[in-house]
């Protein structure tokens, strides 16, 4: 085999291997670890909900898909289906809250209504409440 054929074959092989590796890495990509990730915004639940209520369009452009570190008082805990826990944080409105979904835990005993907590999560947007997903507790002030 001529040297340039060997080089070409090696190059093709290398290209193929790196392609497969890149695909595997991408395929197995994890969700961002919100407990460790640097938050894009640090904000209180009261201010966050008010911003969405006052101007959903502006707030959506600013916060959706971003990691938010949110502090607030727990209004209610709802163990959800499929190993999830929803924590609602109080806001200035009685009808609208910040709902934070934790994946992989459904034991609400670590928390109780009235606890002041700081958590991080990815903002999904606004329905009647501001919705955060992939949440992690940063501090439970109690």
């Amino acid at each position: 085999m001529k040297p340039y054929v060997k080089i070409a074959l090696a190059a093709v092989l290398l290209f193929a291997i790196s392609g497969i590796l890149a695909a595997l890495i991408l395929f197995n990509k994890k969700h961002p670890d919100t407990a460790k990730a640097k938050p894009d915004f640090v904000i209180s639940a009261v201010v966050l909900q008010k911003e969405f209520e006052d101007n959903e369009k502006t707030a959506s452009a600013r916060y959706i898909n971003k990691i938010l570190e949110v502090s607030g008082t727990i209004a209610s805990l709802t163990p959800a289906d499929s190993n999830h826990l929803n924590i609602s944080l109080k806001t200035g409105s009685d009808l609208s809250s910040v709902i934070c979904t934790f994946t992989g835990i459904n034991d609400p005993s670590k928390f109780k209504p009235g606890d002041v907590i700081t958590l991080r999560g990815e903002c999904s947007g606004f329905l009647m409440d501001v919705l955060l997903n992939n949440c992690a507790t940063i501090i439970n002030h109690k």
């Binding site: 991408l26 209520e53 289906d81 499929s82 929803n86 979904t101 329905l127 009647m128």
Partner: protein
């Protein structure tokens, strides 16, 4: 507040109503498809839903970005390639229990129901009819249903390379645990 008023208007709800209306903001909608490569499963635990037990009307709203997948890449593809969730952030169902007389909302128990209505996904609305269960419990109502949808009916374009691997019918599971609206 504007959003809330719109939502309530959409559901034809009068806030002064008595406890004939039940709601949840923590409802569950999931979908599942078995493929030769791996199973596709998305979970949304932030579904807002209302049911009026006097008329049998029911409605759900869900944010597409609230669907969670085990694989980050799958979630990314779901949002960006298939559902275009930046442009079309919500899915909505509005319908009615057609055999309301067979449910006794004042007596605890499990009742089989048929629900018909309009399901809007990806800005495309289709009529659907499905069987489900209403469970009347003390202080609330649980509702559940399983039905199949075909992504193509909602103009969700699945690229050729993976189209054959995704089952034409996605199984959708809905589980709602309603509490009286008056106490919210």
């Amino acid at each position: 507040m504007k959003r809330l008023i719109l939502f309530l208007f959409f559901l034809n709800i009068i806030l002064a109503a008595n406890a004939q209306k039940f709601m949840t903001k923590n409802g569950y909608i999931g979908f599942f498809s078995h493929t030769s490569m791996e199973d596709i499963k998305g979970d949304n635990n932030q579904v807002a839903g209302v049911i009026d037990v006097t008329t049998g009307e029911m409605a759900f709203q869900a944010l597409i970005k609230s669907f969670h997948f085990d694989r980050a890449l799958m979630e990314e593809h779901f949002n960006e390639n298939y559902m275009e969730s930046d442009k079309i952030p919500k899915s909505i169902f509005k319908g009615k229990i057609t055999n309301l007389s067979s449910v006794n909302f004042s007596k605890n128990g499990t009742y089989d129901v048929t629900v018909e209505g309009d399901l809007t996904i990806h800005d495309v609305t289709n009529k659907i009819s499905t069987k489900g269960t209403i469970e009347v419990i003390t202080g609330g109502i649980n509702a559940s249903s399983k039905f199949n949808i075909n992504p193509e009916d909602y103009k969700i374009i699945i690229p050729g390379v993976v189209r054959d691997k995704i089952n034409k019918n996605l199984e959708v599971t809905v589980t709602m645990k309603y509490t009286p609206l008056a106490t919210k």
